[in-house]
Symmetry: D3
Subunit: 274 residues, 6 copies
């Protein structure tokens, strides 16, 4: 019920921007997270308006200081959103500005709204990796595919048993907004969409290896949803099955790869690792 001292920081070191978008538990001090990413404590100074009550970063390009007013909402938007669509208007809180400070010739950093750099998955990927590791210690990597606006999650594991891929998928899907989890073997690079598609094509049968969970927490910005808050998530096991013999994967032997120099044949071309 009281005004909340606040500040908006426009432009800073990339570690600042990254750290302030991480998914950290509610009571974590974000300045410490940013410091960890910077490799040194974040430098802060008292704000002009609130003094020591609100510390603001010392090296921001610009800082807007003010207070968020209690019980006051005004219509905001529509905005271009990470979904690639315009959102509708929303009732939002109001920041009453008291002061603006800035460097000389500040560089304001922005995202290209609704395009690919609007989707910053790094914080989510870290959180999903943490959860999957609890369920399946043999997890190798987690990627939120940029093509899918970060809604498809690819997880690679070194499984010991046929029951582990679905454990990994369940843990990954315990994070909201994810619409698909595809679990692959660790010979697949989850940051390479083509490799994941190959696993889906060659190691997966849709009636046997996919399950859906409905009523999952979705994003209100997703225009495909029928329910205002929930969507459906798909859990996919695209790993080799251990209950049958599997043929051998086709690979050029490493000794051949070492011996051959692609540049001898096609000048200027780099190797395709697949």
């Amino acid at each position: 019920g009281r005004p909340r001292p606040s500040s908006a920081v426009l432009g800073h070191h990339p570690a600042f921007l990254l750290g302030s978008g991480m998914r950290v538990p509610y009571e974590t001090d974000e300045y410490r997270v940013i410091g960890a990413l910077l490799g040194e404590p974040l430098k802060v100074v008292p704000s002009i308006t609130w003094g020591d009550e609100l510390l603001v970063p010392a090296e921001a390009e610009a800082v807007i200081e003010g207070e968020i007013l209690p019980w006051r909402l005004e219509p905001e938007g529509p905005f271009g959103e990470w979904t690639g669509y315009y959102s509708g208007q929303r009732q939002s809180q109001v920041l009453k500005v008291h002061a603006v400070t800035q460097r000389r010739n500040p560089i304001l950093v922005s995202v290209f709204a609704g395009h690919r750099d609007h989707v910053t998955n790094l914080g989510w990927e870290a959180e999903i990796l943490r959860r999957v590791k609890q369920a399946v210690p043999c997890v190798r990597a987690v990627a939120l595919s940029p093509g899918s606006a970060g809604m498809h999650c690819y997880v690679s594991i070194d499984k010991l048993s046929d029951g582990e891929p679905k454990l990994a998928a369940l843990a990954a899907a315990s994070v909201g907004f994810v619409k698909a989890v595809i679990v692959v073997d660790s010979d697949i690079d989850v940051f390479n969409e083509s490799e994941v598609m190959w696993a889906l094509a060659i190691r997966f049968q849709a009636d046997r290896d996919a399950d859906i969970v409905r009523g999952h927490l979705g994003s209100m910005l997703d225009p495909s949803m029928d329910h205002p808050r929930t969507h459906t998530v798909v859990l996919i096991d695209a790993t080799e099955r251990k209950d049958r013999p599997y043929p051998k994967r086709l690979r050029v032997p490493q000794e051949v790869m070492d011996r051959v120099c692609l540049e001898d044949y096609v000048p200027g071309v780099e190797e395709d690792t697949r």
Copy 2:
């Protein structure tokens, strides 16, 4: 590839038995967990056979010291198992005994194999609660129903959104062996099977609110499985929906409950809270 110094402890304080059955991460020192449960450090002494290389509890009823031989397996079983069935025979490792120490008139503690006290869920419940809390901070309680041999998990939450029950269910099911997760509102006591059944009857539609995930890690002792390692887990949302008005739950007002004394009417009878 080398013999592993080992000891089997027969009979100790209940906190010892409980702590040694907890699901703790791989590198955790179980003696410290037991100490936490005891409220004081566990007293240990050097073993007769291995000295300081293997510390054994000082106050056990009996301790069998020995070494587990590498690469040697012998058939063991069948045993009566927590499923209520006899297991088959298994190839198991061999403990070569070097020494047995015991108190005078030791009391050996055992479980009544295959009956209810064979199922000790406490460690699992704690782990599931920890995982659900990451996904849904509003979780209230987690119970592994004793009737189901600990395979059915009941979770109560104070949900803010219709998408949260399934997040809770996914997190709970990221633990293997669980065959059903039923998420209920916090007015339901998850330790009272009748109340959970009531929520299932009155707040659930089977075609809409239940999802299944196949290929989930099951127990090799479960005789109902078709696959040697995997089973199917059911995820159930039995909470009131927030997307429609719900009638009021029937309750005797607290002031009436306070005023009425059951014993005035039926001498010797305790209140049924439902």
Copy 3:
């Protein structure tokens, strides 16, 4: 189109209350059913208002005589209902009272509305048993679980073939309002919810052994329904399969049970049969 002579009986022998709540075919004389339960014919007398046209029980605590008016409806409710929720208001028929007779110091019997004794399943259990027996003569027992407000039906059978449990489930579900039928082997006591949960945990796979039937007749008082009149019923086979060898159930031999007297070990404790 004419007024219907009617009477409401408040308080009588429990057999009277039970018999008047039985599900008997439309033209059956309920007084005869009550007589069968009493073990002797029900004593009746001519009503004061209608004489021999309407006979009322002679030994009721109180009888309200009157007529139900044709074509007249008035709003009634909301009531506390067996679902544990308040119902909405309904348009109901009107009883115009002509006379009230009663014993001296009558004891009026009531139910604790919306709590467990509001659910009286005995009549339904008998009807379901009758139907299941036609389909599967080897049926042993039928229970409507009180925890589920009588909406979950547990059926035990001594099956000869793997096809019989679903026949039993279909016959049981041919009664409206039932939301789940769980068929178990006859070693399970269907009146013990824990035993049924055990069968569900150890003898059942959700993707293989459960089927749902949508569009089934539901109760208008069930707040979980999407359709005003229909809900979904689940049919579950939780029996041991006959198409594979099953391990032996763990049992203390009867001769041991006979020899051992629990009271020798724990004074004052009764045996738990499971």
Copy 4:
């Protein structure tokens, strides 16, 4: 463990053949059922071999008397079966013949094995009608379609509520061997396959109105089954929905039908009622 006096009756009044194929409860006297169908008691005489111990029909074309030997099985078959396929060989009991009696110039009645008159559904239709009536008093007719070798059951009802068609389907499917139940409104003639197909085309949506129940008791002679004893039954509601307005069915008014005489236009042609 003792030989069972038996006789095989070859050829008799059609009511005899029909009655001996009825599905009557286990202890019912089939001679009485046949008598009911004949409209008079079946005439019987003592058998030559067993005298009054085994009464045989007096007016059969031929009777083979003998005893079924205990514990003796011999391979029999393959036979042409009602499925239209040859069965495999089976181990069957042996009838040791003691006497054969016959009329002069007896007429032996047989079925054309594996063709349409091999399928006699009348007894099953009566039993299904009896069961459906218990669940849904408004049932109008039950037919086992001859085209489907009696495995598809068509049921017409005058429903009051959208929940009744599935009650009827469940009751009908509580009889084994049935592979599909299609419930239609009473304007459909269930003995006319074309009309049932029309209801399926115009009043049914496959994702919404059909449910399947697996593990249902099937016929061992059905070559499409994966499991030796069970198959899958489909329950279909092809009635008009009561939860939305429905257009009017197109009908020539009765007064026009009465006025028009088809023979005036097409000499010798009978009316098609649809």
Copy 5:
């Protein structure tokens, strides 16, 4: 945006009526199709109103000439439709009549609206056969069952592999309005509904051999649809499986059929081929 010269032809040779109802690609000249069916070019004459700009058939019973007005719609209907129901009213285009020509004593041909001859499937059957043949060259016949108002499609094939029936079903269902495709072996006559039902009963398991595709283009006249434009189509494989041995179909040997003359036994009766 300009008036379109048009004519309505009432009554002509059956080949004319058939050809004008064929499903031919958009730019095909329908007069040529009709000519193909007639076996000679259709005779046409200049229209009275538009001369050579609009040629009309020379031998029609009656021709209404006029123009369809642009941008003008008027309510039309309800009509009795091929579904057997009345349609609602629709906004339709308007034909402004300029001339009517007719033969002396013309015979106007009509359909009995909403009854069986309202459904003319021949054009659709040809188009479906053409598409199925591309996917499965071994297709033998395609029928749209008249009982189903042409919405159920029966396809017979001589399959070489278990994967072909579903290819045939997919190709057949790539035509809108079809609600079911049933693929059978070529020993089944798809124009005989009873034979198709037999294949469905004896060669099909509903959980294994049927798939549904939702969101398929339906007819706006189908009163069972929930969505204004889409319905659900069922794809059914009712062929013998090639992955297991199948019993032999029961057939009277051809040499016996040739030797036997049914008329010798039942004067005046024709053979039933099944």
Copy 6:
């Protein structure tokens, strides 16, 4: 039953290689297809062994002439296959070589077995486009994704009605081996996997918009299949729905794109169109 004159052509113009891998109907002359791709008739000469009976291409790098022997099979393989796995051994026909002709210093063209250039989809894409166009004239493009080894088919359409995407999917899936069909709106470039993934993430709900068809013709080389010949295909509608208002897609206006020159800001960088 007779030897078949045959030749193997090693190395030729790319149009030759492409044309000989096209999916053309059985009786089509492949030399004519190759000629069409070349833009001029393929030059052929009589073979040395068979003369005019077998014409071979005149400009091949090398030609192996021989005869395929009837009824003779020998084990062949394993080979590296397009799936990325080694195949097993197979019994294959035998080519008895009679002559080898070649250019001087011939260049033998090969594929890098089991790697991406082993998958040549062009012929299949043309055939699928042809079939989809019959069902949905508004089809815009068809791509078999190289990442999926050509097993995932992406189809873009300009739909007029919500029923068309599934028609397109059914037509595309009437071709064997395809394991998934994803239908998107025409604003999506089907040759850009990221764009298809975006449509799947933002315009698709898995429970509502995907259907599966089992028993579909699969490739014997696919190691994920349970059945030797069949797999499961998924049909996905990832288009915007027409039965609800959709938000506006976020696009930089074309006039802005025209005005801005990326190179002014980032020297040497090309535009990313998304």
